[in-house]
Subunit: 350 residues, 2 copies
């Protein structure tokens, strides 16, 4: 890697295309002065989009990519597209030419490519997909895994906790993030064997830079009393999607209600700032895309329908994780896991 | 069982106490003319509460219960309280003196007692906890399991589908309820082996009185395109609680926003009918408590903080399931599961 941190951008991913990816990267560039970029995609379109962003152009190299991973491509098909902008961005991280990659493309394809090309870092059995969800507290909550691993064993959950805590320390500037395991109750005997065992290991690993606070439940995700929530990818995916669906459900019911009578219509107009605030709170563009943790290199997935602010957030997260060297931090933290685990991990490690 | 359907009511459960349980039962009685009740609990308090409800008093027998299951009792402790109102109500179902039991008490205790006393019906390996969630469609959606079984195998999921469909046929008056399995994607290869195998079996069981429509995801629970959503108890519990938490989160954000400025305050006053409708939509009292399916007898859990309308809904559901003989229906339906399963089930049946 060159002395200056560099981010590989898949300029072609996302519903909004090259101009939005470039506008987002340009926005992020303003917050990270030393940051450099390699932009992968259709050279002509990238060049055209850069006309509006001289600051980004000055900090970027462009690498032409022949093909694009489509949102409908299966991961297996995407993996074969070696000349796609996504593949090439990941390859740049693998080759050490960039420290992080950002893409707004096909999540399944990105996850597969990143896993195959970058491989899991030492001490980590499986990568996890982490994202931030809004809370009523001071900061968002980081939740992982959100779907990279349908089933998880005890070690996976412990490793996710370590990775999530490292992410939270950087993203929220906390010394000891509060970490909880998602469960179906808060009593010690609740949940699967894997969850109970992971809790025992985390409780015993007192030197870890986190405050492990036991179990939480689905109704407490947004309460703001936890910085990192750890779960297997099935439960995480169900929780994330249920939260999205319910938020949409509630706003749909409200919209119907507000348009059902003249009196409500008037109320709606007057209350527009309130609805705006709600929208702001729930808008994925105000959160930071999803991060793949546990790989030899940082990979951030921006929302497919993100606007330039959303893309900028994703690039900003990638830059922060790179600047703070999250991979090294996770490796260091893994050494702090309690004695009971070390043996356990030796048996299970690949 | 006597010729007239009879429901055993645990008069002591619930945060609101005897008067609300009695008021709810009295309300339900008006919708079910032939229905009779046995009321278990403190005789003096039940008699006092019945003064306001002569219609219920005329249809009820009172059986004094010495003790009460507390909300803090562990299931193991509750099981030993043989003279509790909850135990005695379940025992009445076991003895055939009542066809159904309704309680607003400790869910874990009720579940354990019902399982131990009533046992699972022939062909069913494990009971499931089912509840209704609001949707944007014509009817609510029935979701199961919601926490009775932390882990489930293929047969459990198939049986839950059959039980949920039987419940939906009665509750929504549908011939072929639309049934889906909760998953982390809708493509065939998504999810665990158990979920994919259950889908294959249900797809092959074309004579079942349901329309099996594949997978659904957490964000589509409230969409109204499904009548029954089947999942293991872990995922179900996470989804249910996440939906509750998110709805509360959104309304909290709105409340804060509405009270943040005079203009919004005015809007809030004018929009009160809209917020009222939302509250109505999300109010658990408008839904029907939770039903334990798969036991030799109907057991309905009313919400702990239900008002009389909530209790009436729970009693109404119990009465409907009893009148329509859901246990017999489920047994009949189990015979319709595709050939692939019969063998599968013989191997796996206890």
């Amino acid at each position: 890697m060159s002395s200056q941190p560099r981010i590989a951008i898949d300029a072609m991913g996302g519903d909004e295309g090259v101009p939005v990816m470039m506008a987002g990267a340009a926005l992020a560039r303003r917050r990270h002065e030393g940051l450099r970029f390699t932009l992968f995609g259709d050279e002509a379109r990238i060049k055209a989009a850069l006309d509006a962003h001289p600051n980004l152009r000055a900090a970027s190299d462009i690498v032409h990519a022949e093909t694009v991973v489509e949102s409908t491509d299966k991961p297996s098909a995407a993996l074969r597209k070696k000349t796609s902008s996504m593949s090439m961005a990941i390859a740049a991280v693998k080759a050490g030419e960039a420290g992080a990659a950002v893409s707004a493309g096909n999540t399944g394809a990105l996850m597969s490519m990143a896993k195959v090309a970058l491989r899991t870092m030492p001490g980590i059995d499986r990568p996890a997909l982490a994202a931030m969800l809004p809370t009523l507290g001071d900061n968002d909550v980081i939740m992982l895994d959100l779907g990279a691993n349908t089933e998880c064993d005890t070690d996976n959950l412990v490793q996710f906790a370590v990775m999530g805590a490292a992410y939270a320390r950087i993203a929220f500037d906390l010394e000891k993030p509060r970490v909880r395991l998602l469960n179906i109750g808060t009593e010690d005997m609740k949940g699967t064997d894997e969850i109970r065992e992971a809790a025992a290991i985390l409780r015993g690993s007192t030197s870890l830079p986190m405050s492990f606070e036991g179990f939480t439940e689905g109704d407490k995700i947004g309460r703001g009393d936890t910085d990192v929530i750890v779960c297997d990818g099935f439960a995480g995916n169900v929780a994330l999607k249920t939260a999205e669906g319910t938020a949409r459900f509630v706003t749909d019911v409200l919209r119907r209600a507000f348009t059902s009578s003249l009196r409500s219509k008037l109320g709606f107009l007057i209350s527009k700032p309130a609805m705006h605030l709600l929208k702001h709170h729930l808008d994925p563009n105000n959160h930071n895309g999803a991060v793949f943790l546990g790989l030899n290199g940082v990979v951030v997935k921006s929302h497919g329908n993100a606007d330039k602010k959303g893309v900028a957030n994703a690039v900003h997260v990638a830059a922060r994780l790179l600047e703070e060297d999250i991979t090294r931090r996770i490796a260091a933290d893994m050494a702090g896991i309690g004695g009971a685990t070390s043996a356990h991990m030796e048996t299970h490690a690949k």
